[in-house]
Symmetry: C2
Subunit: 151 residues, 2 copies
Amino acid sequence: MSNNQFKRGELYSVVNGMATTAVARRLQKNFRNAGLDITIEQWSVLYHLWKEDGLSQLELGNRTFRDKASTTRLIDNLEKQELVVRVASKEDRRINLVFLTDIAKPLQQITYELANQTMNEALLDITKEEIDIVKNVFQRVYDNLTNKDLL
Amino acid sequence: MSNNQFKRGELYSVVNGMATTAVARRLQKNFRNAGLDITIEQWSVLYHLWKEDGLSQLELGNRTFRDKASTTRLIDNLEKQELVVRVASKEDRRINLVFLTDIAKPLQQITYELANQTMNEALLDITKEEIDIVKNVFQRVYDNLTNKDLL
DNA sequence: GACATATAGTTAGTTATGCAACTAATATAA
DNA sequence: TTATATTAGTTGCATAACTAACTATATGTC
């Protein structure tokens, strides 16, 4: 019985991640209130394209922690809303490169503001040190669970 | 610009909650590998019933951070698998009380073990102090976002 | 007692998730 | 160079999420 174990009664609150769920829900609500008709999942894809346009679907899936099937569907929906377009790569025709449209580009500014505002609400009384610890723990937990798959 | 703000480039990793997602996925995988045919969402409901059997759907929704529609469907599926039964309350016939069946009861032991094992994998190198901080931050973030709705 | 309001739960509609099986294109190996 | 394996993406299937509109029961007020 290692000393870094949760008491049973606390297991679920960790697995569920109620805090991150609450943040996501609040951000979604703030998008809606601002008249933005995109889901936070769609936003998570746009977010990475704003940083680097023209990523492949697979790369987008890696960066947003999704499998390729989920990524396909998400991009289907983004394409339906004309926020992105798929362009087959010239070098490797198996690969779809995903590009932002002119409709998507102006959304960056507004959504960043809403995201920052949401984070400020969420992190109202949380210190910089606490945030650093949480981020660090998240990363290590993620590594603990994903590196093992390579062994 | 408050000092407890994430840099833009880090926003998404927080909203996404990649660590908690990874834990959930690993736990789901461990259930499957053990031949258990339940989802972690279903388990989250069973988890609360094992602690206190015969809760109403609404109460189960509160404890698992779900709205009532999601709770309805989840219990539909649990009932389909004969893991729970709905019993109308005698005092108030609007209320469905949810009870574990004899099929669900023996699952408690196995799933708790798998959950503990999963948490041990996830928290391998995380100290008790770090865990306490994360839990505390989660709770405060949750409070920050939900208390406001009451104002 | 009758009418309005609140509450618990269900249903319809849309989006998203994951797994497994599939297609098409590319890379490797005999 | 042909056969085999790998890779990127899609599709089918099942579960789950949220919102909004709905039903049925209970409560509160006049």
